[in-house]
Amino acid sequence: MERKTKIDAEEGKQEILITREFDLPVALLFKAYVEAEIVEQWMGTKVLKLESKKHGGYQFETTDPHGNKYRFSGVIHDFGQDQKITRTFEFENMGLGVQLEFLEFKKLTEDTSSLGMRVIYESVAQRDQQLKMPFSQGLNMAHNRLQQVVSKLNNRS
């Protein structure tokens, strides 16, 4: 039973595909993306704005352990109930560029569903930068893991 998150990031391409299966009906999976108070819980972020509709927009804010605040936002280009969300994403004032996200929600069985998230970056370089540094709240966490990986390498050599 493989229920892990998968990342496909082909070298030299400016996109990433993130896929994951859930033990949740698709309606509930979708709801997790639509309702502000739920988004706040699983993303660990404050929702300043979330207009879950076509031509809507969103803005989230997260605070790191040092009290620094980060905002990320985007516009919702397309919205299909229990099916898809097409939106942009930008980590504000970080100079990391804008990314385009295609979220595809699929019903697998009555009780299971899948999410496919295709993220397209402005350039290959920007994509690779993101791969190395998962954004905002994940930043510190990822950095620590990175450190572990690096120290493991150092020990090996």
Binding site: K4, T5, R20, F22, L24, A32, W42, E110, V150
Partner: protein, 114 residues
């Protein structure tokens, strides 16, 4: 972190990836590698230099010839590099899943509510 960035730059190039695939099957001399490409010999040499500098290839002197070997261990490290990113999303989705399970109805209705 520079070293690692170099590895990513190294494998971002299609010719260099083709070289890696080639050398992965058997160790080869620069000449033998170059003969597999239409690219000019100095260009191939440059690619080999970059791949060697970031440890994806290892050089070994055999008699008068230098053979290039594929360093699988280094390639594994490149694959591992995506792991923090994957784990980040995995953690997030695990959280999403456990939160949303609270919203599951206690009994199955058998009907989808639209």
């Amino acid at each position: 972190m520079n070293l690692r960035r170099d590895v990513f730059q190294a494998i971002a190039d299609p010719t260099r990836r083709a070289i890696l695939v080639l050398v992965a099957s058997q160790s080869m001399t620069a000449g033998a590698i170059a003969s597999n490409f239409d690219t000019a010999r100095p260009t191939v040499s440059k690619h080999l230099q970059i791949l060697t500098e970031c440890d994806l290839l290892k050089q070994e002197q055999e008699g008068r010839e230098i053979f290039y070997h594929f360093n699988a261990k280094k390639m594994k490290e490149v694959a591992d590099f995506i792991e923090p990113f994957r784990k980040f999303w995995d953690d997030r989705f695990n959280k999403l899943e456990s939160i949303m399970k609270k919203y599951l109805p206690p009994t199955k209705t058998g009907k989808t509510n639209k």
